[in-house]
Symmetry: C2
Subunit: 290 residues, 2 copies
């Protein structure tokens, strides 16, 4: 922190809602929140994973009256996301949560010319809508309840820049940035804080899943990246949620992204161009031209 | 241009496809292209506007064998966008266009908490998919035809930053940036150039339309902006399509956006905060709390 004393956020006794809370970043964050004494509700789709996650959260309980809950919902649509939020609020007298962390999301990298329309749309659903609908439900509820809460979205470094393979995912992660930027401005009308997090590659179950469809050239380019654990990313996310958006630091991060990214991009461009012949062979064998 | 001689693009004799070509930026660009001797195909929804636009294009014809055409299609889905592209290519022996300018798009500003799920989705359709589907159809066709063409997307300054009122539009314009960034990298595999344009406020029929739903605070904030005419924006867009993406200039534009934008944002934040009481009254009268 550059200026003055460090501002910290203390969620002790608050009710925090974490989507995608059964695994990866969401679970790691939920554990940190439970350790801080917060009431924590997680939502994800898979009931078995939710059961395991809830057991894990119970292991970190700080006091007996902490409310810990797990609910199974899909968050793909506005209706489902609003229903999930209602279920989450019910044990808390129906009041809006003090903070909502939208950690849900997944990616399926693939070559653009091999993608179906459905795969492109799924990219937007699983990378953007799954968080945007939660933000919408939460914002409406916080405004109605006059809760001066926090809404935190999770983008990616692919919300800043992109390269071969991420035509369905990077637009979604950029869209989250546009949404966060709008809401940071608009929800000031109601004293609601909006944050967005741009984690690098995280070694999570989701990462292993996306590797299955990832083109070779994309894997090669990423092979020199340093990823982080979900635990380390969760600490960074937790510490980033200070009472106020830091106007001094944000431009610095932006500048770094915009000075370093173009240099990085030149080396990536070179590797893509060198891959042309091999790729043409790949497409031929895959039957793209026939 | 900072380095060496100016690189120019000469579309004379080429076939250029312009979506949203019946009005605003698309029409102004189509006129420039016709004046340059290109074969020009425009697509838009409204047949009357297309008829008028085609008459206008005919007025600028440079030689008798220039093929000028207008086709009525919706571009909201992958299927319709692919069908539009096929119709456009038919008079050209079914070959992919040499360049595709995706100028279609519209915006409907509104307060986030007053938006329906459908309005949020329409924002993504009319700001992102209407161009993404054309890019997808064009990329697949260019790769199959081995056409070393150009794909040009049109974002907005709201693809860089955002503020109150643009929760459905800014995410879409950010998403276009993520798509362009991915495709610039990925379509190098096929020697296809990808560009993206970030115009400021343009005084077009679309601008007049969006004013109808625009919140007062959004109009107030924009009142100090200097907009440009569609003609001026079209010239900038046309001149920006040099044979190569300029790696020296792009970071400069980025830096400008990221140094100037945070300063601008502080003054906007102040105005939004000052608007709180008036906005609460507005929401009450609109029945939001009842």
């Amino acid at each position: 922190m550059l200026f003055g004393k460090k501002l910290t956020w203390n969620p002790d006794g608050q009710h925090i809602y974490v989507t995608g809370g059964s695994t990866g970043l969401g679970l790691s964050l939920a554990i940190l929140l439970v350790k801080s004494g917060a009431h924590v509700s997680i939502v994800a789709r898979n009931q078995n994973k939710l059961d395991d996650a809830l057991k894990e959260l119970e292991n970190h309980r700080q006091h007996p009256n902490q409310k810990l809950a797990a609910h199974s919902f899909s968050l793909d649509t506005a209706e489902e996301s609003a229903a999930a939020l209602e279920a989450v609020c019910k044990p808390h007298d129906g009041r809006a949560p003090d903070a909502v962390f939208a950690c849900a999301g997944s990616s399926k990298p693939k070559f653009f010319v091999e993608m179906s329309a459905e795969e492109m749309q799924n990219g937007m659903t699983n990378g953007y809508w799954v968080q945007a609908w939660t933000a919408m439900a939460a914002a409406k509820k916080m405004v109605r309840d006059r809760t001066k809460g926090k809404i935190i979205l999770v983008s990616s470094t692919l919300g800043y820049m992109s390269f071969v393979g991420y035509a369905s995912y990077s637009p979604a992660k950029h869209a989250l940035r546009g949404l966060a930027d709008t809401l940071q401005s608009e929800l000031m009308l109601y004293d609601i804080d909006v944050h967005i997090f741009f984690p690098p590659t995280m070694y999570t179950p989701g990462y292993e899943e996306e590797t299955k469809t990832k083109p070779k050239i994309t894997r090669d380019i990423e092979s020199t990246d340093d990823g982080v654990t979900a635990e380390a990313a969760a600490v960074a996310l937790f510490e980033g949620v200070a009472p106020r958006h830091n106007i001094f630091l944000d431009p610095l991060y932006d500048m770094a992204a915009y000075i370093i990214a173009p240099i990085w991009k030149r080396s990536v461009d070179k590797r893509v161009r060198e891959h042309r012949a091999e790729h043409r062979e790949y497409l031929s064998e895959a039957g793209f031209f026939s």
